[in-house]
Symmetry: D2
């Protein structure tokens, strides 16, 4: 039995629980929510945060981020990355395996998790590389929370698709589906038809040269066939094997149609959309203006309504930030040669702001944001109950929002080491003002106060 | 501010909240849940109920019951009816307007609510008769929670479809759709093609005589065309007007297909299934054995999988008990002449037991039961937040279950005045052991202790 | 055995046979095609028509015309009507039963056919009134080729829906479906929800007065709900009974969707579009300009693409002219009171011209025209083989076209007694220059030379 | 102008024309049908065949046969193969390019056509190998009638997939789609996921050894995923490029679903079913009994209804015989090692008999057979008008059938050099009794009388 004082109480007239908005108090003891209380209840606490009418939502869970650590820590490391996460309202991250070395083996995974543990300021798990079927069971036992595969080959750049993250061989991919199915974990796939892509790259280079415009068009050659062919393939693999499949980067109308149809059959399929595609690269003007700093993948006008439609209607289950910074030097070459410049851009600190702005515009509801950024990611990764909802027994991961705050986004105000971001100069309304991780305030008004290494490893229960 | 003792605390390792099962305590002050607390939290209370490992679910909300009061109180009155409800785990009822006089006018509605208030032992609202378009706005203002229309004519019996509850004229029905749309309330329709039905009745009587078998077959003549034609009509009216439409009694495969397709277009349509159809009349053997005491409407073998499929996959949103007793004398005639005997049968006390039995068999999940019997009914009627979920701020309407209790159902153990029921002799496993309404235990081990008139009127916020 | 000379040979480089265009000769003996010959074959004949490069198509079959005889012969009689048909390339007509008396009984049908026989200059059959189920079998035996039902009541005008053509009672309609199913004949239904229509009429009159604009809008009130509700009903009846159903006047996008879906299930359903709707009333400017002389039913902009899409893609099986003249005096009142003025307009002489114009524009193919105006109508009525195709054994019903002829349509150049037409002043390119019925040229350059009564009754083989 | 006697007249009461069955006479002058005449017409002819009540259908067109010439003429050569074709009622063949050398270049194609010309006894064209995109335009100009690609790699046997017929690289395949699209010719694809297949082979060998049973199961591992993944890929390529796509070997329920859906969008897609799959390998008992002599690919029980459903409902457009003999010696090894034994089996002489037997059983209509074996193949290859229909102007390619002939099939009665066939001992009813090619009888009662080299090359009009 415990004493009479809570460690923390958070009050708000707009607490977003799974049962809708509640006017009340979230009572925390240690790291856990131990009570949800009405507004009038006595709730003595060592610390009380009164959010007033500011909404409180569960901490964001980002199932898709690239922290560049180990191997590319000049771009970002796990410490920087999770500081930006905390600043953005993200309390849990699952980072991707395209680091050096990629997490293809148990030893690498253990080392990766140890390194992460030494630096993370938010809770974390790791999406291990699923390219070696024989290693999947071991990786699952060693704590992988999901498996990630790029349907790619090493494409001549050490980043982002180094050996150990990608595969194109369907036999191996099918075995990956089988092995992952046995672990019960989800399989995240970046759909891509590598041979086809090379064809469109060659053509784009011939027609438009090497710059960012050429690069943007290459991937969407043939009206999305590079993506759609891969999506239809993995959906059929899923039908054959039964694996929990998470389709990354959904952005073509055919892809949306196929995924929607497959989900309607009751199969365990989820889909992701990315902030860069929803807010930046779906407007060619941004690409023209920001060039390599916008890219990412272009979403042409004819596919944009389908992608946003899927976000609004629930075909999209999860928003993954796809946060992935590079240095300005690395990006700068993209103005003239985007094919050697790396794709990827930092996003983890801003994507909640961008979505809150849409709430203020009436395009998204707060409930839908909570679903896509917190409850669904928690369900996908198997941590719902502990994460992803403001409920008793869950970790006290909370974000206090200020929906009236207007701000022009500037990289200089961000926590990114790289010094730039694709959402530069975007007008926003709404931001996280406090991030609370397991009962501790780790961000307040932009200041991240969490200690290095204070994040906790999330290990699936097996 | 309040004092340190809760009025009631309910402990269980399996509290079904909207965020899943929680091990914890529900803290109640007055009528409201003011806290959900972890199992270790100190929770001093005037009264503590420790359910141990028994599940606790939100009180059932029955959007479809017929209490026969006023006008037919020899069958049942609002007091008897709500006692049976309380015994069955139902804490909120919305009764139907086919009483005498039917609730077609503001004055009648007011009188009806007053009468209900004087007798109800659970909370209640009323589905007013929607047959007079001019009166709909007034009825909504006077507190109707929904509107109900039978697509029928007075069929020569004073019960169950007296003047004032039914209409067949499409122009009037269309105006009903329009008027109800403006109130924002849902429109409940019993789909039926009256002309067609008369045709099949005539034929059935010619072919099979007047008994219960003949009657059972009449409604399903032409492979469900009596129902399907009506369903397609109201779905098209809904498309045209935009009204919140609640389709009652879904039980044909074509009906399921049409409703599923219409819902997939994002239209505000919900559908109901009934316990008598799910458990009794979908097996001809029951009809043979129980005759008029089984009927209700027959669900033929070829339609049963579609109906149950819709229950399992979410096409069905709501289970409405369609509780509607008659006396044995009234029923008895149905052995030889079911066309003058009334349909309808008592169910409100047993339907939770029947569904819990399916949970024990693995056919339904507890989550799905909570959805169909509590959260979805609350959302449909607009009371979600106050009712339909175990959450802070909500009414403390709770049911404690004993999932291991095995029982052969007997009318003599029920609270029905009529002395019989269609679920007689069914083997069940699982029952409600305590019903709590707004913080007060109103049923314990089958004994209903609530005072007459202690139920509360639910009035939509406008 | 026969002699060496054919009675007639028609030569063309573009004969439209079921196997595509053939360069050759159609050899006729007596009334029949007895040979299709290559262009080089010797083909001695008493009469040779060399069409050169002018296309030759099978004579049009109009399954939907209103000749007003008997009862309204001041508008048109069977002689006038079939002369206009012959002038328009139509060699077979099936007229509708809304004459006086309507053809509800065997005696009336016999009288109707006798009268028609005494006047017709093209072959003919009759779509009997199907409103009296008991009479259907007899009518089929007496030579009805199909049954027609309006889902209407007498609407206060003696024309066009007098007692004896219409019904709204679903029980009777269902019995009609059953009785017609047993005859094997098709059932043509004018879908309409009468009650609903009256509602929209009342509103339209209140809002827009009594003129043609008001009338046009009334039928399409509620976004086509008057039509769609009826279509969904008859499709469900068809599913239940299995009758061959021919849905008339398809023109709403929901109707197109429902019919397309039902046909895809392999059910014996066909659908009709009408020239007035495809060419006249689908452009509000025509309604504004021609007022009562345009109407017919308005097809709003949002439904036009679906209707034309259905024409192009094959969802529409049959073009029925819906030819139905009235006098100018009768129409003139429609400028101020269209609700007492009759709908209906003359079309049988121009609809081929209007479609040929679309062939010249590239919107329709000649093959599709032949399908919709000849082969499919022949299949629908059961006369394929005898009618509807240029093939050996078939009646020598042929139309020679001049695809280069440009003409501004004028009623004064038509054969209509009524002196006006909705296609007045339309610019066309393409016309029939010769109509051949059973081997005899009955129209040449607009002059119809057939003798009164020379048309032949088509009697279904039973 | 020509003289008064036809060269040939064929009389029958059941001539299957595109407009249905006709009682009449087919008049032939030289190689062409110059007249279709009624039964009473005088038709003097140098030769008259009176088929009486025996049906006459257009000569079969086999778009998919493997004659093994050049390169494997010990199995069969073009002379043997086309003699068997003529015996089976096939008057036109389009052979496949997996010969030695495969027809990847203009020179090879020319040599192939010359060789074929020197031996063929029926008309012929060639489906060139489409694996070298750069050569496609030239091959089209040199007379290819279609392009064929196996989605395979050389699999360690010189037959059937030697270098030069297969490709797995999607970039090259996409370019093939593009190049073939520009020629306007159809692209035939054998859908197969080679990597996946190897996986299932490895597993099958491990689990079941090397015999025919193991081989049969290997291809259908993963519930058809080897085929379905490939089908979804080529359907998406087709959507992207617009090529006329002909999907070979359709036999999985998912494949049928995908193809049906894609066709419903109006895209130029056709699909093939094969006799071996419809009659032999869809029954495991045949595989057990005939082992390597049955295989071909197994069609499991759960896919058989979908495949046959697609045959009946029109989703399947074309029956390709997939005739492909091997010697007994080559096959015999398959009892113990089917992985080195070749697949493929002789069928061209029997498939019409097998289908006629189904007509006698009521499972197929004669009209559907004519569509799938003659008119649709003619439309697919662009020769409709000249081939594929009994009509004036077409080649006089005719088959006279005896629908009452009962026969147990025996390879010894066939014209196959290889001495065996998968339809050995099948009971049939119905056979071709005369085959007429361009006006000459080339088969009568099983005796093929055509001279070597009398077949004619079919060259697409460009
Ligand atoms: Zn990716
Ligand atoms: Zn990524
Ligand atoms: Zn009801
Ligand atoms: Zn009821
Ligand atoms: Zn009509
Ligand atoms: Zn009409
Ligand atoms: Zn093949
Ligand atoms: Zn083959």
């Amino acid at each position: 039995m415990t004493d009479n004082q809570y460690d923390l109480v958070v009050r708000s007239t707009e607490i977003y629980t799974p049962a809708g908005r509640v006017n009340g108090q979230i009572a925390v003891r240690g790291e856990k929510i131990v009570g949800i209380l009405g507004p009038e209840e006595p709730a003595a606490a060592r610390k009380t945060i009164d959010a007033g009418t500011n909404p409180v939502i569960p901490g964001l869970i980002d199932t898709h981020c690239h922290f560049r650590d180990p191997g590319y820590t000049h771009k970002e490391d796990y410490y920087n990355g999770t500081i930006a996460a905390a600043a953005g309202g993200v309390t849990t991250v699952f980072d991707m395996p395209n680091v050096d070395p990629p997490t293809t083996t148990v030893d690498r995974l253990k080392a990766h998790l140890e390194n992460a543990q030494s630096k993370a300021v938010v809770d974390f798990g790791h999406n291990a590389s699923g390219v070696v079927p024989e290693n999947i069971k071991g990786l699952a036992e060693a704590g992988a929370t999901a498996f990630k595969v790029w349907m790619m080959q090493d494409i001549g750049r050490d980043y982002p698709h180094p050996p150990g993250t990608s595969l194109t061989n369907h036999a191996i991919l099918y075995r990956v589906f089988e092995e992952v199915a046995e672990t019960g974990l989800p399989l995240y796939i970046h759909p891509h038809d590598h041979n086809l892509y090379e064809l469109f790259v060659e053509r784009a280079q011939k027609q438009w040269g090497m710059d960012f415009r050429s690069y943007a068009r290459a991937l969407r050659g043939g009206d999305g066939v590079v993506l759609n062919t891969a999506i239809s393939t993995i959906l059929e693999f899923q039908r054959s094997v039964g694996t929990k499949l998470h389709v990354l980067h959904l952005s073509t109308r055919e892809g949306v149609r196929m995924v929607r149809e497959a989900k309607a059959q009751g199969r365990p399929i989820t889909a992701e959309a990315n902030p860069f595609a929803m807010f930046v690269t779906n407007d060619w003007a941004n690409i023209e203006k920001k060039g390599p700093y916008a890219l990412g993948f272009w979403v042409p006008e004819e596919d944009n309504p389908a992608m946003w439609g899927a976000v609004v209607d629930g075909t999209i289950d999860v928003i993954g930030s796809d946060h992935g910074p590079h240095t300005k030097e690395e990006k700068e070459v993209g103005w003239t040669d985007m094919y050697t410049a790396p794709g990827g851009s930092p996003m983890i600190e801003q994507y909640l702001r961008l979505m809150l702005t849409e709430v203020n515009k009436g395009r998204l509801t707060m409930e839908r944001i909570v679903e896509m950024t917190s409850s669904n990611p928690a369900k996908l990764t198997g941590f719902y109950g502990k994460k992803g909802a403001i409920q008793v027994g869950a970790d006290a991961d909370l974000v206090v929002l200020d929906m009236d705050h207007e701000e022009t986004l500037r990289a200089e105000h961000s926590h990114y080491r790289c010094g730039w971001m694709p959402s530069e100069d975007f007008e926003t309304k709404g931001r996280p003002v406090k991030t609370i991780l397991r009962g501790r305030v780790i961000m307040e008004d932009g200041n991240v106060t969490a200690e290095k290494g204070s994040g906790q490893l999330l290990r699936p229960q097996r």
